[in-house]
Amino acid sequence: MKSIKIVIQEQIQNLYMIGRLSAYELKKSYADNLLGGLWIILNPLFQIGVYWVVFGLGVRGGQDVDGIPFFVWLICGLIPWFFISAAILQGSNSVYARLNSVSKMNFPLSVIPTYVVVAQLYTHLILVAMLTIIVITSQGIHHINIISLLYFMLSSFCFLLSLSFVTSTLSTMVRDIHLLIQTATRMLFYVTPILWLPSDNTPQLLKEIFAMNPFYYIVDGYRESLLKGSWNFIHSPYTIIFWSVILLLLILGSAIHVKFRKQFVDYL
């Protein structure tokens, strides 16, 4: 518990630093490219295009999902997933990749996962803004529940941040873990119902297990708040499960981070 306090204190003390460093993080990743920041949109656009053609037109044959065009339904799940996967991968590698540049100064290492995830959040905000516009033009404004959407953005951020504390520490010490996380993330994309719907014939138990998957909670939450405007998902017991997982990850993450960060440099 003491380590949670240390980590949270460091975050609060360095809020300005986190803001500026995440801005540089974003700048850095597009600095070399001709199109620069345009890639924030271009990259997801191509991916969405491929999934839409393969799954929407190919597999489903252009069929609707509960009266919602497949394309709209797809991007409501894909865009939160882009955020999730980028934050997991970058977050896991965050400390290791930056250790060289910060190793020569006395720098609060716990802000590294934070600003890396925050940098991903910026990209996500742009995409969510565009997503909202698309949904409004195709489905009308009355289906959108903005407050619920903000809640899910916040909760996904908290989840990814606490996960990054765990993964960044582990993958700094044992490099294999980073590779493991890469593979796991790719698998999660297909395990989580993003491109497909759990069919009605699925046993109830399996459905429950799906719903307990925190990633499903996030993706479904985005869809509910954008397409159905419902609050139901927040009131469900899954919310408690989801936040317990966050708390658990935060306790574990800050504990191992504080325990091992003194030795990070020695692992280089």
């Binding site: 460093l21 540089y24 600095a31 540049s101 020569k104 006395n106």
Partner: protein
């Protein structure tokens, strides 16, 4: 004096792994077993504020580990590292991002060092000016040359204004101009009472501006003390070491390493203490080698008594080789020493009786920093540090028969009495011919054009109160701070020092004029010259005039006027 950095029995060890899986196992079970590399082994030392410590030693002796520990980058395995204030480590290119421009890097690094937005805005122009890389500041760092990178890195770190600065080989890639600029800046740090650790393989650089030296030898502190003493010993050691063949060196290294880690693995303080004594004996041995001719009998008795020491010595052949080499060095040294002595005699014998008077007379410090020791020998503790141009009453004189050093006892102020080597002192008599006011005024036009103040105005605040100085000042005050020497008041490059509210000294900084030229303006000969450190000492009826020069560029750095009335109290 309060300390800034204190190491207490600090050990930093790295476990050697043969397999990756052992590393993982260790993470979770943390067993103590295994093979360790001791980067630093039970070292202790204390550094006061305002010191510049040169860290010297062979490759792989633990210098960089030490700097990492000071900067708080890594933690010791055992012992405590006590740092007062913020520490900043300057290493080549550290913290610079290749993709971002120089300007962006300034902000980035500033942020990472914990500066606020306002502080970053303040330092940015200073950094740009100091780094002096022109238009490249707006280009990505990847286009920089290695010199430019280190200049930018250095400029940022220096301007962040840490309390403790650790410079790890960062100056080795800069050119002479930039190195000088850095050294200048570091001198400024020194005057502000900040502490600097300077890690370099350039012994001359270390010697030229450090006050103390820390010699790390295979994870141990071999010597720590006055820069000249330690640097000379290290230089000597290097000469011997370089003469060894490859095999001998390896043998030497292994022996030292074995011995040290052996002492620690067996744990028990007595054993590690033994190892410490051991190394002292060894250094005593290597020292005595150089004096083998003079105190040959003594050396024999030492080595005879301590047969244990012999075991760790080099093979006999190497000893003989080194001994003869050491003697050659000694002979050369004693010759130069003799030459120096005659020189100082001629300088000080303006009146024929000066030598005799010296018995109970006064002496003046003839080096940048002189240590006052508790006892008249090199091993005793240092009590205080005296600086160039200070005048003291001689209380007692004593000769150290073993070391061939004459020691002078004096009162270093505040009731502290101690011993100073006579090599650092020059006899002083008040009657000695000095400069007239006319001589001093010949500097007037230079001062007027360079510092925009007349000679009268410059000197008149001396012996007056601090309020008087601040009230009647033509220049504007740039900053003011307290130091060990009193209050420092900077008016651009003119610095006044006030002690107990009385202005005692005024210095013209960054003079940057040709030494010969200025000295010829003064016409008279200085009271004494320290040509090794480029120091000149004059006196007039009212002032002592101290001139600090850079012997490499042959330019004057600082001209300082000390009011005689106040200085006499010492």
């Amino acid at each position: 004096m309060s300390y800034k950095v204190k190491f207490q029995q600090v050990t930093k060890k790295y476990k050697m792994y043969n397999k990756q899986i052992e590393k993982v196992k260790d993470l979770f079970w943390n067993r103590g077993k295994g093979e360790y590399h001791y980067a630093l082994n039970n070292i202790s030392f204390t550094v006061d504020e305002g010191e510049i410590v040169g860290v010297i030693g062979l490759n792989g002796s633990g210098k960089s580990t030490l700097s990492n520990l000071i900067a708080g980058v890594t933690m010791p395995n055992e012992g405590t590292v006590d740092i007062k204030g913020s520490a900043s480590l300057i290493a080549i290119g550290a913290g610079l991002n290749n993709k971002l421009t120089g300007l962006e890097n300034i902000e980035l690094k500033g942020l990472m060092m914990g500066l606020t937005k306002k502080q970053i805005q303040e330092i940015t122009p200073k950094v740009i000016e100091f780094a002096d890389i022109g238009k490249f500041i707006n280009q990505p760092v990847k286009t920089y040359s290695s010199g430019m990178k280190s200049r930018l890195g250095f400029a940022i770190s220096v301007n962040i204004d840490p309390d403790i600065l650790v410079i790890d080989e960062a100056l080795s890639v800069g050119d002479q101009t930039f190195t000088n600029k850095c050294l200048e800046k570091m001198n400024e740090f020194k005057e502000n009472g900040k502490t600097i650790f300077f890690i370099s393989h350039s012994l001359s650089q270390v010697k030229s501006f450090c006050t103390k030296a820390l010699w790390i030898h295979y994870g141990h502190v071999k010597e720590y003390g006055d820069i000249n003493e330690v640097a000379d010993q290290y230089g000597q050691f290097l000469k011997e070491y370089n003469k060894m063949s490859k095999e001998e060196r390896e043998q030497f290294r292994e022996k030292q390493l074995n011995e040290f880690s052996h002492g620690l693995l067996n744990n028990g303080t007595s054993v590690s203490k033994d190892a410490g004594e051991h190394s002292q004996e060894q250094s005593a041995e290597s020292l005595s080698l150089s004096r083998s001719k003079r105190i040959g009998t003594k050396r024999k008795s030492v080595s005879g008594k301590k047969s244990f020491a012999k075991k760790v010595l080099l093979p006999a052949a190497a000893v003989i080789l080194l001994g003869s080499a050491g003697y050659a060095v000694y002979a050369a040294q004693s010759a130069s020493h003799a030459a120096k002595q005659t020189e100082s005699k001629t300088q000080s014998s303006a009146s024929g009786t000066a030598q005799k008077k010296q018995q109970a007379g006064k002496v003046v410090i003839n080096t940048k920093t002189a240590f006052v020791r508790e006892e008249p020998n090199l091993e005793s503790n240092q009590k205080a540090v005296l600086s160039f141009g200070e005048i003291y009453q001689v209380l007692q004189e004593k000769k150290d028969p073993a070391e061939d050093i004459k020691w002078v006892k004096l009162n270093a102020g505040q009731g502290k009495e101690g011993w100073v080597s006579s090599a650092l002192l020059t006899p002083y008599t008040e009657q000695q011919s000095g400069l007239t006011n006319k001589n001093i005024n010949s500097l007037g036009s230079l001062v007027q054009s360079k510092y925009n103040i007349s000679m009268d105005k410059l000197l008149s605040p001396l012996s007056e109160t601090q309020q008087n100085l601040m009230g009647n000042q033509a220049l504007s005050l740039t900053n003011q701070y307290e130091s060990n020497d009193g209050t420092l008041l900077n008016y651009g490059s003119v610095q006044y020092v006030a002690l107990n509210n009385v202005v005692t000294e005024v210095s013209l900084r960054n003079v940057d004029e040709d030494t010969e030229e200025i000295l010829s303006l003064l016409k008279k000969k200085p009271l004494f010259i320290n040509d090794k450190e480029g120091l000149y000492f004059y006196q007039s009826k009212n002032y002592y005039i101290k001139i600090y020069t850079n012997i490499k560029t042959n330019k004057i750095k600082i001209i300082s006027f000390v009011s005689r009335e106040n200085a006499e109290d010492k």
